[in-house]
Symmetry: C2
Subunit: 255 residues, 2 copies
Amino acid sequence: MKKKKPVILVTNDDGITAPGIRALVEAVKGFGTILIVSPDSPQSGMGHAITVNEPLRLYPSKEYGKLESYACSGTPVDCVKLGIYEILKYSPDLIVSGINHGSNVSTNVLYSGTMSAAVEGALEGIPSIGFSLTDYSMTADFSAAQKVVKSIVKEVLEKGMPEGICFNVNIPKLPYSKIKGVKVCRQAHAFWEDKFDNRKDPLGKPYYWLTGEFKSYDGGKDTDLWALENNYVSLVPVQYDMTAHQVLGKLNYSF
Amino acid sequence: MKKKKPVILVTNDDGITAPGIRALVEAVKGFGTILIVSPDSPQSGMGHAITVNEPLRLYPSKEYGKLESYACSGTPVDCVKLGIYEILKYSPDLIVSGINHGSNVSTNVLYSGTMSAAVEGALEGIPSIGFSLTDYSMTADFSAAQKVVKSIVKEVLEKGMPEGICFNVNIPKLPYSKIKGVKVCRQAHAFWEDKFDNRKDPLGKPYYWLTGEFKSYDGGKDTDLWALENNYVSLVPVQYDMTAHQVLGKLNYSF
């Protein structure tokens, strides 16, 4: 009996025309039937945002030739929801998001639209993976990343993924031969030290542009930051229970 | 020696003119020096979104009379970042967010702008609390919620909060005398079963509006959902490490 081809939903946060999602589609298209639902404009830093106060638009696209693809006016999480509930009307076998132009290690999992799309997949009980390359350039070389994608996607399609989990995969900016392997690791304890670039517009009115520096407070060798700095691919299994279980028994409030 | 008055940053996701944030300001203004930085328009469902692809505007507001307040063009998390890094230039003693018009229990912590503002506070090491009233009406009665806010804020200012934690406080829609107390609990295992309202605009073009039903798969009596359904205030301590530590040792990927 011929096994049914897996259905793979592809999304990202850099938008449907980004080289990163093009590289991702190329890497996964041999594994199954592909559906691309991606934002019509860049949605970096959109985190787990969903569109509730305005309508969503979905435009059939020819961006990927014969592959079914849609540009969506909403966020990456909107794309996942529309892909499952409006286009497919069933759960795909796999969701892949990315390949993000730039790192999504550590606490960036909270800000990242790429990763929030994967977390939404986990909430739906669907094996989901967010891929990021630590290269912000729009002309980044995704060839090594594509090999990593193929290897991990193949393994996930064969072995599955623990339920309620998605993977945050970050790939170092290196030729494939220089990548030492995959480290399964935890999210590093690191944060943005924010700064606002305080500017004046042509009318003399002030505006602010968020900038800053990402700083680690984590010396551990079991983190995603360590893995990347040491030429490994980092793979953090991500879950969505934000309860601080460690303090549950220690808190007591009354009124 | 006179103790320095605590500085309290107030934000929300329903926008600076929402009755909920007005009720919150009224409830906390006796506890210290108040700074309000709130979105200039509703930002429900914005999750942990930050504005990186466009500039931010900050408008001094008279909305709260003599209290220092600003309307911000960005998200709740942008408001927290601007409050700390651009307006105060130091960390406030407490961040309070809300009072949200509607529940933020369970996995809604991921979608909620109200809660993401509090999580951003936790990332900054600042005691932070998101408050929500399980009443979506713009004419909701916040008087019982205000008493709950006062009681919890007083306790947090006196006793502090474990580091890297914020609180997700949901208040049932009940008169104060009917509220049984505060339950410290975990995030329930519950999810949105999404649906899209598929409509046509006046030009005949399709658009989609996200809707759905929130469904629980959790029979536990130690959850926020259970607490609210049983007339308690729910208090979930929330942390920002999304690593699925329980599967870390069980995964192994190679290529």
